[in-house]
């Protein structure tokens, strides 16, 4: 396994170095200059593939979605009853552990992207499954946490704090769930050869971009919601 990791790291370095040449063919041929006599010319005006640009734009938009939800939480985080607030509910060691699980899933996601760039289908599938499992473990932790909080008296309609907390972390959880579905679906499509070999690196990379974004959002949520005292 350590060989795989070493190989992966050196590969990742190469990938970053070669990134300028790393242009993938985009979705549709309309308006595509890839067919002209120069053939190898950049198919897009920016030299960045359409799919990747679209994913970045979408993630930019998502920033404001979470921005709105986080603002709502920050506004309402002190508005709860005396006995059911963060001080009584938070179990920082537990949530730290589940946060660690989610962050590790970003590492395994990077390994999957690296493997697919090496055209190593076996490890691509392996690391995607591990990523999905870690994501699933995080979600299980969140469900456990929600159940515990509910038992301790924090219903969704209990207080402003409760509504804002469940909505913010719930939205994040839904994003993780969607990411898991994307991982498993992409993995199944790769396994069944439904994605052309030449498009696989980009497809996995797109899932990776989304996955890392969801992780970064969790870092912000974990810091603002759990670590900084109200």
């Amino acid at each position: 396994m350590s060989d795989v990791v070493k190989e992966t790291v050196s590969d990742a370095v190469d990938i970053v170095k070669d990134h300028a040449d790393d242009v993938h063919e985009h979705d549709v041929h309309a308006g595509d200059e890839g067919h002209d006599e120069h053939g190898a010319a950049h198919p897009t005006s920016l030299g960045l593939s359409n799919v990747k640009l679209a994913m970045w734009l979408f993630l930019g938009s998502e920033c404001l979605l979470f921005g709105g939800l986080i603002s709502t939480y920050m506004l309402y985080r002190n508005r709860h009853s005396e006995d059911v607030g963060p001080d009584q509910l938070w179990d920082i060691p537990f949530t730290s552990a589940s946060s660690f699980v989610l962050l590790m899933s970003s590492l395994t996601m990077v390994l999957a992207v690296s493997a697919v760039n090496r055209k190593d289908q076996r490890n691509t599938k392996l690391w995607m499954i591990v990523t999905a499992l870690l994501g699933g473990l995080f979600l299980a932790g969140q469900i456990y946490e929600f159940t515990t909080f509910y038992r301790e008296g924090l219903g969704y309609t209990e207080s402003l704090f409760a509504s804002a907390f469940y909505t913010l972390t719930g939205f994040h959880g839904v994003h993780v769930a969607v990411g898991i579905i994307m991982l498993l679906a992409t993995m199944a499509m790769i396994a069944k050869n439904k994605i052309a070999m030449s498009k696989q690196p980009e497809t996995v990379e797109m899932v990776g971009l989304y996955w890392h974004f969801v992780d970064v959002v969790w870092i912000i949520i974990f810091t603002l919601v759990y670590l900084i005292p109200a």
Binding site: H29, H35, L65, G68, N193, I195, M197
Partner: protein, 670 residues
Amino acid sequence: MAIIERPATETLAPAETDTGDVVTATSSYGYLKRPVESTGWRSWVFTVDHKKIGIMYGVVAMFFFVVGGLEAVLIRLQLAQPDGTVLSADKYNQMFTMHATTMVFLFVMPMAAAFANYMIPLQIGARDVAFPRMNALSLWLFVGGGIFLNSSWFLGGAADGGWFMYAPNSDVPFSPTNGVDFWALGLQITGIASLVGAVNLIVTVLNMRAPGMSLMKMPIFSWMALVTQFLLLFAMPVITVALFLLMFQRSFDATFFTVEEGADPLLWQHLFWIFGHPEVYIIVLPSFGILSEVLPVFSKKPLFGYPFVVFSGAAIGFVGWGVWAHHMFASGLGPVSVAVFSVATMAIAVPTGVKIINWTLTMWGGKLRFTTAMLFGIGLVVQFTIGGLSGVTHSVAPSDTQQTDTYYIVAHFHYVLFGGAVLGLFAGLYYWWPKVFGKCLNETWGKWNFWLMIIGMNLTFGPQHIIGLQGQPRRMYVWTEARAGEGFFNLGFWNLVSTIGTFILAVGVLLFLINALVIHRRQPAAPLDPWDARSLEWLTTSPPKPHNFDRTPTVHALDEVFHRKYEDIGEGDDHEYVKRATLEELVEEEERNADAHIHLPAPSYWPLILAIAIPVMAYGIIYTTWLIAIGAAIAILALFGWALEPADAEDSDFDPPASGDETSKELVNV
């Protein structure tokens, strides 16, 4: 529908053969054979062609314009006389809420999207947008959202909280019907449409420009549409959050807006206006772009200060994010906030003023031709300036406190929205009609259309300044004779004038509809270059071929088509242009040098199926849970069908050409 190169022999070996696996993605993508019709209704509803999608956007938006206009007529009939009895208080609330919602979300935004969809690929020299199927999804989500929203009229009453739907006023105790639920979910659906469209069009503009077209050689409409799409990209998620909070509040008893629990009524206002203020620029910037195309053509001069128009547009896009609280001056924000937002609001008038100066100087010294499109353009400059000036009076907070919630506000935003956005859209309709349909609209009818609309709008909205400053509140379903005042400022007189103006305006719009639907049929075919146009969308046939350009154009200059038609024989800074080619000759030349390999994206069922699934889920949220499950199941099916379907049609999707000519580019209908 698509014209696709048919490879003479099967030489399309998979690019990667390392594993020895043949990729089978194309052979099974679900249970549906791909639609390939090029005629009939199927060629429209399953299309991914940006031109057809643009036309459908325009038709549906125009329909909602008529709906919203009828709602406006009812509002004005109610207020024509003291103690009006046309509408009940409840119906009146629904009427003004839906009038605004319809006009903003279902007319102006999609109409601008119609122009952006149709014109952006043509203006930047592309064959389609970056993600054609997502484009179709945008269209059908907008249609689905619009129908969903308006179905509330027949299902217990429409939303009644005003278009900004302040919570907690829109919470269940104050608005017990399902109207607000329909409103929140309907806007959520059209919001997805806008977001998908924004991602798609930004990628298109940034990534699919023809060779040589740098951003600063790009036609100005594409620029303004690009800024608009960025505003949409970042503004839609904020209203999405607000709408989710409202939905959770109403449907799941969340407490976000429950004041007894200590909720802050300003939360909704902030979230809404952080979206809402960029929204007003989303509404007006496309029209600014259209105007900046129309004025140079009919002044026979290049746009004065092109970079200034571009950068002032971008500046509006940025500063537009820092002025939202000027909608909330009366809510007690505190002196510092009020002062900051007041100054920022005055500042945003500057880039707008820059544009007005550019437009004026574009016309200055030009050979003006007063076609209908030009008249609408000049109308925009004049009317928008009036609206802009009354807007500056709002930026002065003490003055605004007097004006808040009066008809003066109504007067202001109709001058900027109708006088700015709508007149610009009509200028675009008259200007680009021959490009889209190959026939000009009738100019005589067009001029009647213009003058009736201009007179009508000034009679309708002009008096509302007076009504408002006299203190008549907006959103009140009656006014009383006892407080109407005396003499020149009598509310009764000006309310009546305003209502009469509405009917003149309505006749003006009716003339447009007759012109477009009836008179247009009898018009002769338009020449290829009816206006002596300047930008790249004219370098093709009218209407354009499915693949837009026979040869991907190479761009050398801003106003590419003008520079291909005219040669500069002046010396030094002395420019003298003589015509060296007609557009007919240029297009013929393009046809002679047509590209051999043209791949077009193929139609698909999945965008439509996905767009139907989402309103089904929305009905489920309001009525029963199992409908959510059905909708979600269809949506998941559609998502996977979409993901597994290749973007391009395969050879095997088509019947062989009847002629037996294997290299024929024309595909038969199936």
